[in-house]
């Protein structure tokens, strides 16, 4: 292989290289610093992530639309968009970990940073891989890293229990996915997605086989984005894991799941040449209806079961399942605009969901409780914090003038454009149901009086900065969301 070709490929994955460097520096740090309790590790991590982000943005500016490493991965605006989300979310998690009470007294801070960098690499590879093996490998990398991260607070029993459940569920899901991939490989005797699409065009296989293969693979992806049949792990793991990690799972790993889902279905199951704004399907099966049905179930179950929840993290777990449902609507509309709308929704979802988790962490730090009842009267004690939480929750419901509304409207726009009226009606009704449990938290904060013995909540400088940095986009993009729209639209170009 000509070394010039190798250098070009290496240049295309500079962000991952930077992340790997950070990991190795962290490992060296682990050896030298002998399990110190200080936060030096996090600084290294933050510097690393900023470096990776910078590399990604540079690549983004160069408008690259190319494959690397023999077509293993595609480096295009789509993958770069997800790399940005990956490294930003890790950056935020690191910032959160400074003040996280759960992570404060672990002695494995350096390993933590290393694993997080691994997580980042896994996620960006997921978004860019064009090869079944690469997809499997990156999903495994991401999963193993998150198994470790979930059970990171080894002192806390529920965190290990969550870790165990997560790894068992995850391994079996990836088992199914591997089996699905093997059958797909059998059918299309090639691991490259583009060639799989060609085999679909040239030869026709009995739909049963393609259905079984696709559903098994979908089980793997579904596990990542916690869609309905594969969602039951999410509430327990979100509740058990330390809050920063829950945030990471809710935002980053879900985004990665959607990235690989979109990449897989839009490359393997669709002909690249598309006359109308809608792509022509090549695969013999109606996978769109499958996705639509799953989306309807995911939304409804996510919203309904969230109502009686009492633990805020569990509530946000079900809410993130519901949001996965809303995004799946976009997936079931195979058009370029649909991809753009999903990416927009993901970006908006990133801000509001991460913000909500940061607030949860701060409250947990002060009141040592994740029970919703402990939020009553929060507005009197911490007005700024509860105002931010109210904005995030209203945005999650999808009330204008916040960004959540724009996300939903854009998805509904493309859905109605395609004529999926029944799905939009279900989504719209779900929005009303979702108001019920989001407003319940707000009601607790604002409409109830604080218990007498509540001590004042100190938010700390860094968490406040984090919250504000998430609050501004949630409100700004609710009003003036043209830039976000163009960014999402541009990022929807896939190799």
């Amino acid at each position: 292989m000509m070394h010039r070709d190798l250098i070009r490929s290496l240049v295309l994955i500079t962000p991952e290289i930077v992340a790997a460097l950070t990991a190795s520096v962290a490992l060296i740090g682990a050896m030298l610093m002998k399990r110190s309790r200080g936060n030096e590790a996090f600084y290294i991590g933050i510097i690393g992530m900023i470096g990776a982000l910078a590399a990604t943005v540079i690549l983004y500016e160069r408008l690259t639309l190319d494959t690397a490493f023999y077509g293993m991965i595609a480096v295009d605006p789509f993958s770069l968009f997800f790399r940005i989300i990956a490294y930003t979310s890790i950056l935020y998690v690191l910032l959160m970990s400074f003040n996280s009470r759960e992570l404060k007294d672990t002695d494995g801070k350096w390993e933590f940073v290393a694993i997080l960098s691994g997580f980042g690499i896994g996620m960006s590879m997921m978004a860019s891989s064009l090869n079944l093996l690469m997809i499997y490998l990156s999903i495994e990398l991401l999963s193993v890293m998150s198994y470790l991260l979930v059970s990171y607070t080894k002192g806390v029993r529920r965190s290990k229990e969550a870790g165990l459940k997560y790894i068992i569920y995850g391994s079996i899901a990836s088992g199914f996915m591997l089996y699905g991939m093997s059958i797909l490989y059998g059918i299309s005797h090639s691991l490259n997605l583009r060639e799989i699409a060609l085999t679909f065009i040239n030869s026709n296989y009995p739909p049963v086989t393609v259905y079984v293969a696709t559903l098994f693979i979908l089980a793997g992806f579904g596990f990542k984005i916690a869609m309905v049949p594969m969602h039951m792990w999410a509430p327990d793991v979100y509740e058990g894991a330390p809050t920063p990690i829950t945030a990471l799972l809710a935002v980053a790993s879900k985004a990665a799941g959607f990235a690989v889902l979109l990449r897989f279905f839009y490359t393997a199951y669709i002909s690249s040449v598309s006359m109308t704004q809608y792509y022509a399907q090549v695969s013999p099966i109606k996978w769109l209806t499958v996705i639509a049905i799953i989306s309807a179930f995911t939304m409804t179950i996510g919203n309904i079961v969230a109502i009686p929840q009492n633990n805020i993290k569990r509530l946000l777990a079900y809410s993130s399942i519901a949001h996965a449902g809303y995004m799946l609507i976009g997936v079931s509309i195979i058009s370029k605009a649909a991809i753009g709308s999903i990416l927009l929704y993901l970006a908006v979802y990133f801000f509001m969901n991460l913000g909500a988790f940061v607030v949860v962490m701060v409250v947990d730090n002060n009141l040592n409780s994740e029970d919703i009842n402990s939020y009553s009267g929060l507005s009197q004690v911490a007005p700024g914090l509860s105002a931010a939480m109210a904005v995030f929750l209203f945005s999650l419901t999808g009330i204008p003038p916040f960004a959540g509304f724009i996300g939903k409207v854009v998805i509904f726009l493309s859905a109605i454009d395609k004529g999926l009226y029944w799905l939009v009606i279900i989504a719209v009704l779900n929005t009303v149901v979702s108001l019920y449990y989001y407003a319940r938290v707000i009601k607790k904060m604002y409409l109830e009086t604080a218990p007498a013995d509540i001590q004042p909540i100190k938010v700390g400088m860094l968490p406040a900065l984090i919250i504000i940095s998430l609050l501004i986009p949630t409100i700004l993009f609710g009003i003036w969301w043209a830039p976000l729209q163009s960014f999402a639209h541009f990022s929807s170009f896939m190799y």
Binding site: P400, P401, L413, V428, T431, Y446
Partner: protein, 499 residues
Amino acid sequence: MLSNYLLSWIVFTPMIGFVLVLLMPRDKVAWIRWTAAVFTFIPMILSFYLYAIMNPSDGGFQFIEKYSWISAFNIQYYLGIDGISAPMVILTGLLGFLSVFASWNINKAHKAYFALYLLLVTAMFGVFMSLDFFLFYIFWELMLFPMYFLIGIWGGPRREYAAIKFFLYTLAGSVLMLVVILAFYFNSTDPSTGRHTFDIVTLMNQANQGPFIKEFWIRLAMYIALFIGFAIKVPVFPFHTWLPDAHVEAPTAISVILAGVLLKMGAYGLMRISFPLLPDMARYTAIGLAILGLINIVYGALVAMAQTDFKKMIAYSSVSHMGFVILGLSSMTFIGFNGALMQMFNHGIITGMLFLLVGVIYDRAHHRDLNGFGGLATYMPIYAGITSLAFMGSLGLPGLSGFIGEILVFLGSFKVYPVIVIISATGVIFTAAYFLWAYQRVFLGAANEKYKGIAEINGRELFTLIPLVLIALFFGVYPVPFFNLVGPSLSKLLMMVGH
């Protein structure tokens, strides 16, 4: 300069106030109040100025401000007013300003209260002025969460229940509306650019509406979905149960705004969106609308008679009065439309007065049980006088503006639905009965020593009431300026609806 950005100035001045109030220190209550007063006073004056320089003879939209907001989806920042929205804007300005003084005795979290209040005023102006469907929906929903907090935090004992009920009802309605808006968007072609558009004005001429929504059943479904969204706001009979709770629990100033302006948005929505965009459906379902109007009038009046809570009675009286508006709209005649719009304006003025009056007595006696009072006229003659005038205006006594609205609705709709009008005319009797019975229970009868030293109505309260009294009297005696303002636009609307 001012006049070509006038509408934006009116909409966003309260926002400036909102920001200022937020920046103010928490304990400077007086400052906060006066900023709120100033920043609602300016839009009111601007709206009067708007009325002054508006040329009433042209029925079309004036003071248009049209800028591209989100070019990706062809969404514009499109403001404009015509004869139909002008009175509503003036009403919002007026009540918005007066209610600030009615919230003088709010006792907790003043900063948050006035901030949310100013946000609410902006949202209301926005709804009446926006001509872009998307912008209209944004302002329509923007009004939701300030109201939720205003009722929820500063309300009465069952405020949480009332607040969440209000929120859920309105959200359910508006969510249906969103689906219809999107359906319109996709089936519309902007003649100039050929792209989809949210622009209500272009959607008004049927040529721009795409093929898909030409089918009868689709159009009917869309009309009904839109109607439910607006009916919840009006409120129309089956969807009205949120109103009494919201009114009873909301603080005085918010009840005034709720009754004075928010109820008009439903009817305004019908006139601005449902009728021009789906005229054939409007005609097809007019009889249903009339029947609902009839039920509203008679049912509202009878249930009002059964209430013992002063505010709840007025809430049901609003249901009854809005019934006239619905009847007027269903008549599809020029006189009927004028009557409906006049009734909307009057109801805002008179019910605003009624709620302010209830606020006066509530601040003194801290309860609203009609049977709990009695013989107040001896202690508070001026208060009794103004209340009797408000009651008379409300039951439609000639010489006050209420009468004009009602009689025009009757005159207009008799031609189309004689039987319905005759039955709803009985509403006039029940209205008189429950108002006078309430007046008698509260004011007449032997002087009640329980309220021996009760204070007469004070200057501030008078300041909020006098303008409303004068307007009610003026428009009762000389309503011609109102008709000149409203006439041309209504005839344009009538042509659109095709009668």
